[in-house]
């Protein structure tokens, strides 16, 4: 079963004077039930906008977002509200996403109240259960958000997202605002919840190591489009797109850092999403780009398994050599 199926999703924003920001420009992916799907990319790549559009927190300009059997992009009013039981969000900043004037028990109970789930007593019991699930004590319900640490606040955010028994949780950089030692606690919690409850995640992060740790499938976004997608193993044992290779290569790791492994360098900044260049959007920063790349846009093409890449040169010897150097130069383990 597919928890979420996204087809040719586009999100365009008006930028004034008739200009349009192509934040998300034709993105398709499927999230099988019980799996975590990671969207990675630099800031401005459109990963967060794509995820918000999947939860309908941003309106899609075109395309389809199927949650189970229903296309939620066209739902309205009460039907949309009911659909939201199945899709919930954990936000990036646990300091900004909890109402500072509300007691945390009420914050976690709020989705149940709004959707009129069960009797008030049942809701209260469910809140106790949720607190225990995320590693908080039910007697902490009466406290306010400021009385908790960042990690505990993120646990409260997770409890709130779990309240309505959703099928899919959109996690938008859920650990990037947390301290290193606390990140591990939250990542382990998310992994445990997924295993125990069969949850599916749409997981947004710029941290490749975090995505690799938690996600079964990964899509790499660049300037509003998916340039490569595949299973965790496919993406990291055989990255096909030069951009994916550059991203992996840029991550400082303890081993490569000490060994002084040479990186693949990226020049310049990404082009503007207002007037994306014709041809491959990455061509301007790509060491392997040819004239053809800057004229004709490559399409996402399956290369076997779940792996697909949008690059004219992915199979060329020059790119393959760089790939081998990257995969073999880095330590295994």
């Amino acid at each position: 079963m597919t928890a979420l199926s996204v087809r040719d999703l586009k999100v365009h924003f008006p930028a004034g004077k008739g200009k349009v920001v192509h934040a998300v420009d034709g993105v398709s992916f499927d999230i099988p039930e019980g799996t975590a799907f990671g969207l990675v990319g630099e800031s401005g790549s459109g990963k967060t906008t794509a995820a918000l559009a999947c939860a309908r927190l941003v309106e899609a300009t075109a395309g389809e977002v199927r949650l189970g059997e229903t296309d939620i992009t066209t739902l309205a009013g009460d039907a949309m509200r009911r659909a939201r039981r199945d899709i919930q969000v954990v936000f990036q900043d646990p300091y900004a996403s909890l109402n500072p004037r509300e007691r945390v028990g009420a914050i976690v109970r709020r989705p149940l109240d709004l959707m009129k789930v069960g009797t008030p007593a049942e809701r209260e019991a469910r809140v106790d259960e949720l607190f225990a699930t995320v590693g908080l004590r039910p007697d902490q319900k009466a406290l306010f958000p400021h009385q908790f640490s960042g990690g505990q606040r993120q646990r409260i955010g997770i409890a709130r997202a779990l309240a309505t028994h959703p099928k899919l949780i959109v996690c938008d950089e859920p650990v990037s605002a947390l301290d290193v030692a606390i990140q591990a606690q939250i990542l382990n919690l998310l992994a445990r919840l997924k295993a125990e409850m069969g949850l599916s995640y749409l997981f947004i992060s710029h941290d490749l190591a975090v995505v690799q740790h938690l996600c079964d499938r990964i899509a790499v976004m660049y300037l509003g489009q998916i340039v490569e997608t595949g299973s965790r193993r496919e993406i990291f044992t055989s990255p096909m797109h030069p951009y994916t290779m550059a991203l992996i290569s840029a991550v400082p790791s303890p081993e490569t850092g000490l060994a002084g492994v040479e990186r693949i360098r990226l020049q310049g900044d990404p082009p503007s999403p207002i007037a994306p260049p014709p041809g491959c959007r990455f061509a301007g920063r790509c060491t392997f780009a040819t004239d053809h790349c800057s004229k004709v846009a490559p399409v996402l093409t399956a290369t076997g398994g779940n792996h697909a890449v949008a690059c004219h040169r992915a199979q060329d010897a020059e790119v393959a050599a760089a790939r081998n150097a990257l995969v073999q130069g880095a330590p295994s383990g």
Partner: protein, 331 residues
């Protein structure tokens, strides 16, 4: 080695919380040699940033103050130095790149003016000279078409470019020491890599010493020569970077290194759960309690750890650790 460029001796920084004064940094001593890169790691709330601020005489006073110790820069004690003396050193000899490129620049001045101002103040350059210098610096930090970019306001630049402008300001006067407080946490990995390339180039070019505050162990491995781990305001481990990564000795250091997910080029289908350091860093009010500050979170805590704070002891060439376990091993 000749006398170190910077020598911090028994530094104590205290903050007034209500009616009581609490030491948030205690017994901190470290040296920084010319051209060296020292990493300071630890979770937030461990005293890393306030230590960095103290080197520039920027501890907010009140409520904070340097309550004991010395900060010797080329033999001159910066603790108790006059504002005038500090102004000669700040930005000129020791400069700082702050964590937030979004909020550390003045939004109502162009970036060129902000770089030129530093040159005018410290070199007494004319406006025209300072402007030329600003453009030269923008070029140095790798900003394309610097002549045009100098006229931009901060909001017109991307995060990576703003951070490069911050670095340009910090480097205008070719400082002997550059302090970078989490200079890349707000940036993408690809931009981070560019910034670190820049640091290395500048170090080769002007021989600056760098103090790099970070919680990213990968960054530490890539950038630093020596590492100092802080916990609850104290140095708990120090040593050359290779030993720190391959053979961390303090349970906190081991926890910090093993709790991060590591990028692997041959990932397994079912990653093991990450190592967790339970609990959180103690709040300032909880500092000064008897025993090792890490004991409540430590998997190896013994009776002794809860009553007596271990002192920093040498465990080999340039390495030191503050943990009772080391004594157990030695005994």
């Amino acid at each position: 080695m000749s006398a170190p460029l910077l020598s911090v001796r028994d530094l104590e920084i205290s903050f007034r919380l209500g009616t009581e004064e609490t030491a948030v940094v205690r017994d901190l001593s470290f040296d920084l040699g010319e051209g060296e890169t020292l990493g300071i790691v630890g979770e937030s709330g461990c005293g890393k940033s306030i230590t960095a601020l103290s080197l520039l005489g920027l501890v907010p006073n009140p409520p904070g103050r340097v309550s004991a110790g010395q900060i010797l820069f080329q033999g001159q004690d910066l603790v108790g130095a006059s504002e005038e003396q500090l102004n000669r050193i700040r930005g000129n000899e020791i400069s700082m790149v702050f964590q937030e490129p979004m909020t550390s620049l003045n939004p109502v001045y162009t970036v060129g003016e902000q770089i030129a101002e530093t040159a005018r103040v410290h070199f007494g350059s004319s406006r025209a000279e300072a402007w030329d210098r600003a453009i030269e610096m923008l070029k140095l930090v790798g900003i394309p078409s610097p002549e045009q970019r100098a006229h931009n306001f901060p909001h017109q630049l991307s995060g990576g470019m703003r951070q490069r402008v911050m670095i340009a300001i910090a480097l205008v006067c070719e400082p002997k020491i550059l302090i970078a407080d989490e200079p890349t946490t707000a940036l993408d990995v690809t931009v981070q890599a560019q910034i670190f390339d820049l640091f290395r180039e500048l170090q080769d070019k002007i021989g600056a010493a760098i103090i790099l505050i970070t919680h990213d162990i990968g960054v530490v491995a890539q950038m630093t020569n020596r590492v100092m781990v802080m916990y609850a305001g104290r140095k708990i481990e120090e040593g050359p970077v290779a030993g720190f990564i391959r053979d961390p000795r303090h349970p906190y250091t081991r926890g910090l290194i093993s709790c991060i997910p590591r990028l692997s080029m041959s990932p397994s289908d079912m990653p093991d759960p990450l190592f967790e350091i339970p609990g959180v860093v103690p709040a300032p009010r909880e500092l000064g309690a008897p025993g090792c500050a890490f004991a409540p979170r430590c998997p190896h805590a013994m009776q002794r750890c809860r009553v007596q704070d271990p002192a920093l002891s040498r465990i080999g060439e340039g390495r030191a650790v503050a943990c009772w376990l080391e004594e157990e091993v030695a005994a």
